[in-house]
Homo-oligomer: 680 residues x 2
């Protein structure tokens, strides 16, 4: 450690004391003046060290850090953890210092954690290169949980809470200013380590999205839950995003969607991050989603059952013979219930033997995939029985208790202080248990299709917003069903086209100056017959010439009216972090009122899209009596896949809006389309 | 106490010991054999007691309870608390016992708490007539919080948690089987008591809804927050309700709506009940919703700010001069932020003086209505400063800490262990602070209007579902704007009516056998001109005669087409608990897909309805760019008021559905209406 101090209240003193008390191997202090630091002989410089070292921990003033790191690199040190502050967070001078640090790391290959962090802990190997606890505080109980946080202060905060909650932390890494290593990279490293079973992370900025997605894939393959707490999703921010139509691809929503798609849990509160860590740290998995609730307080049992239902778990009524068997062990007369929740009532408080028997029967029940029980934190035979029951089964268990208890933490019994928190944790475990690793979403670009699309784009002659007719032609090449339509150059052409198309038609003025046609009267709906088409055509063009005299008319689109029981909207935007994202939501007028949408990051297949549609409006879009039918859902999924493929093949397309996508009687048709391109 | 026991492990022993240790006045045991119970001379019977008593606590076997209560009543005892189980919860025999108990209470006037409860506590007067704690456990710290729970086990559970959370309980009442007194009645009593400032309640069944609403009104008048935790709202239940169209008036939704309307807080989790109790127990109120967040951990600060935004609070950036003043007190160089969140960074950990100064400045800031700060639970100068700051201001404060601490609980500093929980509590306090007592919603029945409506109902001649045309006539009398329309007896009449009405029209077959017209082809839309009307009329009647040969046609309604940018649905149902409820939600096809609705209990005024509409779809129905405009919102509110008045005046109307209520260009029109009546 460079900058190790004899003063216990200084950071350099705390970190060095932590290193000393935990590490089984050699720890050398480097100090410019002191001969001895905390009982160890000190060296003047890194160059004077008597042996090669694996890790340098650096807590010297900012101005000296870069030289020390360079010296470490020259000496063959593998990595450095830099505690020192005063870099990018401290203005332009610090920014320059940090850039030099990054440069040294890149040039010499030495990996750097920090600067401006509180260090890291690898409890398995006894590396406490941090000041997240002071020397008088106990070391965390080591275990399979890894916690990675950009913010050092928050890391220390949540580590403190994690220890109280009984989380067994094996790794804690704070990345600080991320001059070299960032949160995503640390997660990518840790997911491969065999001693790591659960990954918790807090970040304010997500860097290296491709690495993040790769980490998520590996975590899924290795069945290691990855849980993210993300800051920066306040409703004030959301409201700002809602004020323009691009709202459906707001940034927090994109992160949530990407996490859902790749199997990452998003914790919605700080406590939920720890709650999920608690349920996952013992590595149990569930065979199904049926939970039995055992309680001696009817009210608490009802709350647990309610929350189970709300979290998507089932609370099955126990079979009659199981109920009879339970009742046989209960006090007589028995005033409780054996149905589920199994309510033993306060009577069993005085009969620990009966309580224990019933508890074990519940855990063994063939109707139980998950076990939940209510208890008081005070020690006693009931809690002894819970510990024994927990150890006797491999089913996941979540205990609701008035408070955390040392006894349960020692035994590893997952404990929660609120019914909702217990059931959210169990539901996450069920989700993880039922999850198969995401398929390798293969995608092969279709060069011929892309070439044809580019020809159509080229015809737009430098315009960034393509004509609706061009947009639909491009979409049609990707397999999107579009309304039957023809371009007409004059009124007679329009009448003839309407005859060929048949049925009621729509007329729309095509002009690069009129992306929003209805604002300029450039659209006529529901026209039957020659006269109506002729009259509407003339009337429309007259109106446009008055309301938008600057508009150059490229032609009139004659389009068959598409019936609609439902209107959806399907679009593509490019997120600055995650790249192209395909969205589907309710359309028509309601797109303004309801901003809910499902988002997918291409490439994805039709199965993934079909599943995602099932999540829209809490599932009611597909389960509602007049919602999306199965065939309609399949076509909509294909439209989503098409937009994803288009985005991957045509980099120059920055935005696609199919609005509305009209749904009726099994048919799904793009009735309008807007494509925005960047010309190279 | 009748049934006082010498055995400390028996319930009768625990209750008596609790009575003895808390009560400053005389406590007499009644026991059939023992001469002395826990050091007090015992009496054989209630009749032998040496002086009049105020309260009898009863823990004798169930079979003896009724006689004891009768004896107490005869002796002039004011009230009885019955601990004993084995009544209605124990089958028909117990049920009969309980009925006798109720009868004795009614006949003699003696008030009864229980049976099958854990008793009650009035800490202010030293009445510990309960076994919610054992004698070796400390008595709760007394204070302004009252907790009323039907379930005894749950009451004990949550009391235990409340004590851990630092809640100062002055009253705890468990009502058990409610042979006489119920939760609602206890709340009604306690709301008037001067020592009670906050009412918490847990209930599985809400009895006496009128008393509940009256309690809510009084609580609002006296500015005493009333907070309810309600069991029985699982999604499984909700799903069941959603499967039929009456879903919008599901029972949990009705309770939520009634609570919102009358200013009762609904806690969504057990911990939230305690969190709200914690923020309210000191009686502070806020002047606005601006919160300043102070932290030495940037990450925790961001989370608090995010949650503040999501909870509807504002986190204003501090004025430049305030920021400069704060920075003047910070360490140099300062790497944190003074903008808000005020991030002092870990630097101030070593500078308690600076931390204290900044904290006090933040609390004094003219930009702060509310103060929030982050801390670690370990004692130290930072927490000392927080206590002093709390005592120096009358602004509401919520501290985020890694755990609860004795120091903060002693000082009454509201402490939370999760950012969301802290901000939900502050937001509730802001809501309470800004609330004016609900106006006395006066309503005077209009006898003439009711008489006219009844005449129309009578014309239905015993049919329970009125014709659309009749329904709209009734609604029109209550001021609901309906589509222009006429009944026609034949095709010529229809053509003539269409001419008079003008514009495109709709034809609908009126038949008591066809409440769902479109299922039988009994409707034709968008008809222009005589020919179209004539042709559609004949075609429609032909189709109906094939598809619904049993239908008796009463006439054909010729209705002007109502344009619609938005479709709403407005309805009335009678809830078994709260009576008539008026609902408004999105209509058309989406009523199947989106079940969200706002509900109001009549009588209410247009202002209340207008406000409620602002809550639909998270506010987006009125803020969305193409959402409900101000004039449209006002008319919709009047439609809601009309349905409420109709429900109050016409008891025989069990159901009203206006679907759709078509909205366009400032106009709101009932385009269809279904009224269901009970005759006789």
């Amino acid at each position: 450690m460079v900058g190790a101090s004899n003063s216990p209240t200084r950071i350099g003193g705390t970190v060095f004391a932590n290193l000393l008390r935990a590490f089984p191997g050699d720890v050398h202090p480097v100090h410019p003046k002191d001969q001895v630091v905390q009982g160890r002989p000190a060296f003047r410089t890194v160059g004077e060290l008597p042996e090669p070292v694996d890790l340098a921990v650096i807590a010297v003033p900012a101005a000296a850090v870069v030289d020390v790191v360079a010296e470490c690199a020259a000496r063959g040190v593998g990595g450095a953890t830099i505690i020192t502050s005063g870099f990018a967070e401290a203005g332009p001078e610090g920014r320059a210092l940090q850039d030099r640090l990054t440069q040294v790391s890149r040039e010499t290959g030495i990996r750097v954690i920090g600067p401006n962090c509180i260090g890291y802990m690898n409890a398995h190997d006894g590396v406490m290169a941090n000041f997240m606890v002071t020397v008088d505080e106990p070391l965390p109980r080591p275990g399979p949980v890894a916690l990675v946080s950009q913010s050092g202060g928050f890391g220390s905060y949540i580590t403190n809470k994690a220890v109280l909650a009984g989380l067994r932390l094996g790794w804690f890494v704070s990345t600080g200013n991320e001059a070299d290593v960032n949160v995503t990279g640390v997660l990518r490293h840790l997911v491969e380590r065999p001693e790591v079973g659960v990954l918790l992370s807090f970040m304010e900025t997500l860097r290296d999205p491709e690495v993040f997605i790769d980490t998520a894939r590996r975590a899924a393959e290795l069945d290691k839950p990855l849980i993210l707490l993300k800051a920066g999703r306040s409703e004030e921010a959301a409201r700002a995003a809602l004020s323009h139509t691009a709202s459906i691809v707001g940034s927090a929503q994109v992160l949530d969607a990407v996490c859902r798609q790749y199997g990452v849990f998003v914790a919605s509160t700080m406590e939920e991050l720890l709650d999920l860590g608690t349920i996952f740290q013992n590595g149990r998995r569930a065979r199904g989603n049926r939970v039995i609730v055992m309680t001696s307080s009817g009210g608490a049992g009802v709350l647990l059952a309610d929350e189970a239902g709300q979290a998507g778990l089932s609370v099955p009524v126990l079979p009659e013979e199981e109920q009879q068997a339970l009742i046989a062990d209960m006090p007589v007369p028995f005033y409780g219930s054996a149905a589920n929740p199994v309510d033993t009532t306060a009577q069993t408080t005085a009969m620990p033997g009966a309580y224990r028997k019933v508890l074990f029967s519940v855990a063994r029940s063939a109707s139980a995939d998950l076990v939940s029980a209510v208890t008081w934190a005070r020690p006693g035979p009931a809690n002894d029985a819970i510990v024994e029951m927990y150890q006797s089964t491999d089913k996941p268990v979540a205990i609701l208790s008035t408070a955390w208890s040392e006894q349960f933490q020692q035994a590893g019994v997952p404990t929660y202080t609120d019914p909702r928190r217990a059931m959210i944790a169990l539901a996450a475990l069920v989700r993880q248990s039922g999850r198969r690793p995401p398929g390798s979403a293969r995608f092969t670009a279709d060069a011929e299709r892309a070439r044809a699309a580019r020809e159509l784009i080229a015809a737009a002659d430098g315009q960034t917003t393509l004509l609706e007719s061009t947009g639909k032609s491009i979409l049609a090449r990707y397999g999107v069903p579009v309304t039957r339509e023809e371009m007409a150059a004059d009124v007679d052409g329009a009448v003839a086209a309407a005859e060929r198309i048949g049925g009621p038609v729509v007329l729309k003025v095509m002009s690069y100056q009129l992306p929003h046609k209805s604002d300029a009267g450039a659209i006529r709906l529901g026209l039957h017959g020659q006269d109506a088409v002729r009259e509407a055509y003339q009337d429309m063009l007259a109106e446009v010439s008055v309301r938008a005299p600057e508009a150059v008319v490229e032609g009139v689109l004659v389009q068959r009216m598409a019936p609609a029981r439902l209107e959806l909207t399907c679009g593509m935007r490019r997120d600055p972090v995650f790249g192209p994202m395909v969205a589907v939501g309710l359309g028509g007028v309601l797109v303004e009122v309801l901003s809910e949408a499902v988002l997918l990051r291409p490439p994805f297949d039709a199965g993934t899209a079909t599943e995602a549609l099932g999540e829209l409006l809490g599932g009611r879009l597909v389960t509602g009596r007049r919602g999306l039918a199965e065939d309609e859902r399949a076509v909509t999924a294909r439209v989503m896949v098409a937009l994803g493929e288009l985005a991957l093949e045509l980099d120059e397309v920055s935005e696609v809006d199919v609005n509305p996508l009209r749904v009726a009687g099994g048919a799904v048709l793009a009735a309008d389309a807007l494509i925005v391109v960047r010309h190279g």
